[in-house]
Amino acid sequence: MKKNIWINLGFQAGAFLLALLITTLILIFAGAPPLKAYGSILSGAFGSQKNLIAVLISWSPLLLTTAGVLITFAAGLWNIGIEGQMTLGAIFATWGLRLFQDTNVSPALIIAIGLLFGMAGGALWAALAGALKTFGGVNEIFGGLGLNFVATALTIYLVFGPWKRPGVGSMSGTKPFDEKLWLSTLPGTALSPWGIGLSILAVIVVFILLRGTYFGLKLKAVGKNMRSAFMLGVPTWQYSMFAFLLCGAFAGLAGAIQVEAVYHRLLPNISNGYGFLGLLVAMLINYQAIWVIPIAFFFAALNVGSIQLQIVHKMDSSFAGVLQDLLVLLILLGQGARERLLKKA
């Protein structure tokens, strides 16, 4: 048993190094000095307090989306629709704020309402994908993808249509909300302690749910074999629906936080790839909730740090994506290789 753990770590490290190696080759191929490049990623992420804060800002929604997909993964579901769910969260949050901004409801309350609306919105969109899956037999991957497109179009429609700012409808989004409706952030930054707090809380909740609860076990049963789980008395469709709802609510919360703390308005593509990134993180950590916090942080750091690549080395900053993707890919393949070896042995 102990031996396996070491073999495990060995393979993880190996995959990581291999990923680094490949990306280094790519860097060389793209004509950038690798060491300098990695250096500037580091300094870009941790060089200044401002950058560190930027990292934390993109950490928070990533925590939420990852936590969300861990639930759906446990239920054996590929919730690719999470991007759309996050978008709907943003839309609903905006809606909530718009509903009350001109009333004399206390700002704090409005903000809270916004967050709840966001969760509701995400859950609703997830429920759609879930209903299509559980009652319509439509594979959640394709239901979700379709709904992602619809969500994007819906945002653009709202931004240029019903919710367009006075005069100019602009890609820049809806008219920013009054400062009093901003989720309180650390002075001079877009970092909201609330956002971080809620995100970490979400991760903890998921961790506990999947660890030692009946809910978690039944969810796993549903995920691994729905028929059998049903015969064992688990209300299967309710469970997968619930998984969708929970994931959607988390994604929606992430969207709402983007609106209330980061952008202070609704803008197109507000989900910004966090959903897919969450799926990546979940795969990278092999669906083990315990690793969400550090790995999500690592990914966030890569996002922020790699911007320096373009500024300093005039290199397209999609490099961060390349690095993250390759990392996950190789970890997956590494797992496969490990299992094979252990089987042979």
Partner: protein, 331 residues
């Protein structure tokens, strides 16, 4: 005026060609029991590298070949990861979809907005003068003709030939194919790679023909692959139905812009997104027959209506290859 419509429809046929490559390629792959979810990345990467190659060599042929090569390589990783290393096909495919996409954007920078070669039109003598059909089908370019042929070829191969029969078998019940002498996993490698190569044609078909040139994130191809995957299901793993789906999709998008002036209050984005709800709806119709509540609901119907409803649902349903997404091990 109807001539205008005809030309427009001919344009639709051309515009659908790349998606069609992707759909047929994926159909073949999935028939072998493998899901290649990486299409979106495959298309972007093959689009970029195909264009880059054609630009460097000034040879269209090289461009398309490189596109196919890229598609084949990505597909190989899917096959290797899922067959040799037994990892989830969906997981590998999804990660590859992102990897290939980001690689395309990252490596494509030097080729952005440089003028490259584009595929010339190729009206077929005589044929092109057939009244309606000529305008529709025979004033296209080589790659569009290829897309027409591909539908036919894929269909014949799948449903009329011995190897095609075995291909179906491998995706339907690998163990049975195995005892009938098939080397299941080798075939799965083979067809995954072939399917990937065909899908790899989609990229160059865009950057060398339909939407010439590489413009990085503005090339406007991000998403096509996901659409193609959905159409594959809509097509019920049959090249004909798949092609129909691809054409339907292109048609709807075309209508979206043609009708724009007549629908002053509907934003163009809404018209453009229309195919997706429709797609979801069709997937629903195709699958809903198996749903439990439908069965219960049917059971509660009077006999005659029930018989009819059941027939209707069965007619629509398209069931995937039984072994889709599973691994096969002898023993």
């Amino acid at each position: 005026m109807d001539n205008v419509i005809l030309i427009g429809l001919a344009g639709v046929l051309a515009a659908a060609a790349p998606v069609l490559f992707a759909v047929v390629g994926e159909t073949i792959t999935e028939r072998a029991g493998v899901i290649n979810l990486s299409l979106n990345g495959t298309i972007l990467l093959s689009a970029m590298s195909g264009f880059a190659a054609a630009y460097k060599t000034q040879s269209l042929l090289v461009g398309f070949l490189v596109g196919m090569l890229v598609g084949a390589i990505v597909a190989f990783v899917v096959a290797f990861g899922s067959i040799a290393l037994r990892q989830s096909q969906v997981a590998i495919g999804f990660v590859l979809a992102l990897t290939a996409r980001d690689l395309a954007y990252f490596l494509g920078v030097p080729y952005m907005n440089v003028p490259g070669p584009t595929l010339p039109g190729l009206p077929l003598p005589l044929l092109k003068d057939i009244p309606v059909l000529g305008t529709l089908f025979f004033r296209q370019n080589a790659i569009t003709y290829l897309s027409f042929l591909l539908i036919l070829a894929a269909w014949i191969w799948l449903f009329r030939t011995r190897p095609g029969l075995m291909l179906q078998g491998v995706g339907e019940r690998p163990a049975a194919a195995f005892v009938r002498g098939a080397n299941v996993n080798r075939l799965r490698y083979l067809y995954t790679i072939i399917g990937g190569a065909i899908a790899g044609l989609a990229g160059p078909a865009y950057t060398l023909s339909i939407k010439p040139g590489w413009m990085g994130t503005q090339t406007g191809l991000d998403g096509v692959g996901w659409i193609a995957l959905a159409i594959t299901i809509f097509g019920g793993w049959n090249p004909w139905r798949g092609a129909l789906g691809a054409y339907l999709f292109a048609l709807l998008q075309w209508l979206g812009l043609v009708l724009q002036p007549n629908l002053p209050n509907i934003p163009s984005q809404v018209l453009q997104v229309a195919p997706f709800p429709l797609m979801i709806l069709t997937l629903l119709l195709v699958n809903v027959g198996d749903a439990e509540w439908v069965q219960r609901w049917l059971a509660s119907m009077p006999d005659k209506t029930r018989r009819l409803a059941v027939k209707a649902l069965r007619a629509m349903r398209a069931s995937p290859p039984a072994a889709l997404g599973t691994t096969f091990e002898r023993d």
